[in-house]
């Protein structure tokens, strides 16, 4: 295992070391100590390595991640795993705003709560949140899945496209064009898998599904704003 002291050795050295790992690296396991809320930790990774961040992170931890597994043993600042392509990012604590924003693939697991705009504009990522999500979550979400084991805040799924949203608790209010949808067997199966990957013990049958009413897909007199 490689250990990197971020406070002592700096951000550039860390990301350069992590980004230079290739598919056949032997240095598959990394531990980052003293993260102290730094921004842009472990961004742009492109190899199947495991990175454990021993503490909380600032903005954009694991941004644009590909293939890597990144575990934050603390809480994560805004935009964690933004635009992730593949791999797994797990936050042991809470996540701030825009968690998983625009993610194209991979899995983001948040063991605590997520703040506002969780899963904004997602394009294929799977996000599993053990706690609650804040307002405007899944805004303009295009595809992928957002699972919320707690409650969702205001304007949930506003202007949503084809992403699927599952919530176990309450939804404070639904955003424009977001509606509750029938939970069919295929959704139960999908959700079972998501919950398992997210390490949640909730039962898929306890969730409700939300998605697009598809009423904003074409400009009309009443929605041309």
């Amino acid at each position: 295992m490689q250990t990197y002291d971020l406070e002592a050795d700096g951000l550039r050295g860390l990301n350069a070391a992590l980004q230079s790992q290739t598919g056949d690296t032997n240095q598959t396991s990394w531990e980052i100590v003293n993260p102290k809320g730094s921004h842009a930790i472990a961004v742009g990774l492109d190899a199947p390595i495991e990175v454990n961040v021993k503490g909380s992170t600032g903005y954009y931890c694991a941004g644009m991640n590909k293939l890597a597994t990144v575990n934050v043993h603390g809480s994560a600042g805004p935009g964690v795993a933004e635009n992730m392509m593949s791999g797994i990012v797990t936050i042991e604590g809470d996540a701030s705003q825009y968690a998983g924003a625009t993610g194209h693939g991979g899995t983001l697991v948040i063991k605590g709560n997520a703040s506002s705009r969780c899963g904004i504009s997602i394009k294929g990522i799977d996000i599993i949140v053990h706690g609650n999500v804040g307002h405007m979550s899944a805004f303009m979400a295009q595809s992928g899945n957002l699972v919320v084991c707690g409650d969702a805040g205001d304007a949930f799924g506003d202007s949503i496209y084809e992403a699927r949203l599952f919530v176990k608790g309450s939804v404070k209010s639904l955003g424009a064009d977001c509606v509750e949808k029938e939970m069919r067997d295929e959704h139960i199966e999908l959700l079972r898998d998501l919950l398992e990957r997210g390490g949640c013990d909730a039962k898929p049958e306890e969730f409700k599904r939300y998605g697009s009413a598809r009423q904003l897909y074409n400009f009309k007199v009443d929605n041309a704003y």
Binding site: L11, R12, N15, A16, Q19, H39, A40, V43, G44, D46, G58, Y59, Y60, G63, M64, K66, P78, G79, E82, N83, M85, Q97, Y98, A101, T102, H104, R117, I120, S121, K123, G124, F139, M140, Q142, S143, Y161, E162, Y217, N218, F219, V221, A224
Partner: protein, 456 residues
């Protein structure tokens, strides 16, 4: 003349008072009235492409003084007058080196056809300059045909991925566009072909609107961290541009610099767009001419003029425009609409087809409908096959060469051996408005409105 049947009664005019000619209202003009009727019939606002069509103070309102006794000129064809520019010298390990200071602005695949994007890449590369992607991601065609490609990082993040990021020669974070500062993109269903839909991860055929705000940052302090992240992902190699629409150019430029931009791209209200509301295009934003001096002032106040490069766009058409923008302090310019016209947009040879679409050469702006006779702003396979990307690329190269030669002609006449040596002192203004906006003297005077130390 009114005749009253065949009763033999004389027309009113002969005995009555003299008739006056009908007078059209300047307020309720026929075109305004037609728009009111159109709105009343459809209940929808008008969407179109292009930039502001109204007249605003612009580069034609400025003149160069040229050399005389007090300054001497350079020989027209022989003496050296350089045109090269390097963008991204502030932080990037690999700045972009261009032969000419005229770049091709960001225009999306989706808004433009594949052959049009290819032609832009070919023409720009042949002329020694860069092209830019747009909303919708990077296509292999444009990467392949563009020697230097700037990859836009937009609010929608359609097609955004780290592999293309690493393939790009520079990144342009788009905050806004001159045609619609404060608005996002639009691409109507007619143009969301299967390929466009797949690149954007959207259902085919929907009317797509792009977000107007970035999803994961708000404000200049966040932007600084976002730029840090992008630099870390790209190992501090590639320049990062920040593109803003012309609204508050002094503060936007200053904040972009503070956030860490290598290059500021400033797009005035005449700047084209692929599609947005007409009301937005015509009524929001500052004329390009009014943007440049405040932006340059911001760079100077921060001590980074020339270190952080300023690229100006919005209504650049000729070498004279290029020279004027540079004399006011820009390091380079970008063109969108003019490049499309060089490729063949609004060409009179399609007049018959423009007529069928209810328009005419020069006025065709329904680019969002995807029926462009010239095959440029369309995804229709039959129409886009009309554009030969090799020939269109050659036309663009020729046009870029002509603009460069024109700008050099002016620079030499003013006695400069590099386009960057053009300065505001080379200029005068024909109107009070232009004098005030460009902060150069009204022709024949040494005064402009707002000049410090004067009474106004």
């Amino acid at each position: 003349m009114r005749t009253e049947g065949n009763t033999g009664v004389k027309t009113r005019n002969e005995n009555g008072p003299p008739k006056t000619a009908p007078i059209q209202s300047a307020t309720f003009s026929n075109s305004i009235n037609a728009e009111i009727r159109r709105a009343a019939a459809t209940g929808l606002y008008d969407i179109r492409g292009g930039g502001a069509k109204r007249r605003v103070p612009q580069f034609d309102d400025l003149l160069f003084l040229g050399a005389s006794v007090s300054r001497y000129p350079l020989e027209g064809y022989r003496e050296r007058c350089d045109t090269n520019v390097t963008l991204g010298t502030r932080y990037a390990k690999k700045p972009i080196v261009l032969d000419i200071p005229i770049t091709i602005a960001g225009m999306s695949f989706g808004a433009l056809s594949g052959p049009a994007k290819e032609a832009l890449g070919r023409g720009a590369s042949a002329a020694g300059t860069s092209t830019t992607t747009g909303d919708g991601g990077m296509t292999p065609e444009e990467r392949g045909h563009s020697e230097k490609l700037v990859y836009q990082y937009l609010p929608s993040r359609y097609g955004m991925n780290p592999d293309d990021l690493r393939k790009a020669d520079a990144i342009e974070i788009v905050v806004g566009q001159g045609a619609k500062p404060g608005g996002g993109g639009m691409l109507l269903g007619q143009k969301i072909s299967d390929r466009v839909a797949e690149m954007r991860n959207l259902p085919t055929g929907i009317d797509q609107r792009s977000a107007c705000r970035h999803p994961d940052w708000t404000g200049p302090d966040d932007l600084e961290i976002k730029i840090l992240e992008l630099r870390e992902i790209m190992a501090w190699e590639k320049p990062i541009y920040v593109k803003v629409g012309g609204t508050r150019p002094y503060y936007d430029t200053a904040l972009a610099v503070k956030a860490g931009a290598d290059v500021v791209v400033l797009d005035g209200m005449q700047g084209g767009t692929a599609a947005t509301q007409d009301v937005f295009i015509e009524h929001v934003g500052l004329p390009t001419l009014a943007c440049i001096r405040p932006a340059v002032q911001a760079l100077q106040d921060l001590g980074v003029h020339r270190e952080v490069q300023l690229v100006v766009s919005g209504g650049i058409r000729t070498g004279a425009d290029v020279a004027k923008a540079m004399a006011l302090g820009a390091d380079a310019v970008a063109i969108g609409t003019a490049a499309l016209i060089a490729l063949g947009d609004n060409d009179p040879k399609w007049e018959e087809e423009y007529q069928k679409l209810g328009t005419t050469t020069g006025a065709y702006d329904d680019w969002h409908e995807g029926q462009d006779p010239a095959g440029i702003t369309t995804q229709d396979p039959v129409l886009q096959a009309r554009l030969n990307p090799i020939e269109a690329g050659q036309r663009l190269r020729n046009y870029l060469n002509v603009m460069t030669l024109e700008a050099q002609t002016i620079a030499r006449a003013c006695g400069h051996n590099h386009l960057h040596n053009l300065e505001p002192e080379d200029l005068c203004a024909l109107t009070m408005e232009a004098a005030a906006m460009a902060r150069v003297p009204l022709a024949g005077t040494d005064w402009w409105p707002g000049k410090s130390g004067t009474g106004f």
